[in-house]
């Protein structure tokens, strides 16, 4: 995976405030897209979320059985059987603004390359969401 983060101007300032050894090796691509969802779009997405769909049910079951997990990495491993498309569906449903809050939060506390790899992944998903939002208009 390329060491690249798609960051807005504000997020770039957060990144610049990280220690140099954490920032080292990472490229920044400006996130200039702003195709956020309209409120009615987000409401429709919530209604479209199918909690009875087998992969979504598996995801919920995994969460229900995660009580003894000791750290975030173990949690990720525990969730490993859940298809990526389920995760993407959840991110699609919460939308770009909520994703931006997650990105800002994790960017503030990143202390390692692994953390920034996670942030990079979130910024890439948000970028693809922006592109998908921009290419379809109401009929």
């Amino acid at each position: 995976m390329k060491n690249s983060l798609h960051l807005t101007a504000i997020e770039r300032k957060q990144f610049d405030a990280l220690p140099e050894d954490v920032r080292e090796g990472w490229e920044i691509t400006d996130e200039t897209l702003e195709a956020h969802e309209r409120p009615e779009e987000l409401k429709m997405r919530v209604l479209m979320l199918d909690q009875e769909e087998p992969a979504m049910k598996l995801f919920v079951e995994k969460l229900q059985s995660a009580g003894s997990i000791k750290n975030p990495s173990e949690l990720a491993e525990h969730l490993g059987d859940v298809p990526p498309s389920t995760l993407y569906t959840i991110f699609f449903t919460i939308g770009t603004r909520a994703m931006s809050e997650l990105i800002a939060a994790f960017l503030t506390v990143a202390t390692s390359d692994d953390d920034l790899a996670g942030v990079a992944f979130l910024t890439a998903i948000r970028h693809e969401l922006f592109l998908s939002n921009a290419e379809v208009s109401p009929a």
Partner: protein, 176 residues
Amino acid sequence: MPRSHPTDMAPLALKDIPVEGLPVVKDTRELADVYGEKDLKLVRAKLQTNEGKAQLLSQIQEKNPGVKDVEKAADQVNLNTEQLQKKEGFLTRMVKYPFRHPYKTAAGVIGVSAVVAATLFGLNALGFKLPAIIEGALSAVPLEKVKDIITTIFSLGRGTQVLPPGADLGVPGVTV
């Protein structure tokens, strides 16, 4: 009768979603059952012309006799199919993206993000308790902000039985 031109459509008010008598289509496989038309692009195309829209609405009324307000129904079809198209486009993009499995690529952040997202949707109310260590990681996330966005939308949809019985938005340590 449909409005004279599709561009006359005003956005559907949040309180009117979902429109009475018209189910939300969660997946393109449900299109034929709800709209009498299985092709998403064709449904979208029909909304663009008066003739197509009238034909589509007629099919929809036949499939869903409980629909009272056809104009609102048309607005919902527009919004619903717009989101189906965006979702399809997004998931296609993600399949093509050169990622490894997300949990293996960036385990901690993605795992925690998934939990945050799921928690915001009230899935924790099904019995899931956040492990203490994860709560610590979550303390960095401004959950109130994220939750505000979701709660606003969700509370408006609460009457629609989106959530399983007894489910509620709840984030440990956060009071709204």
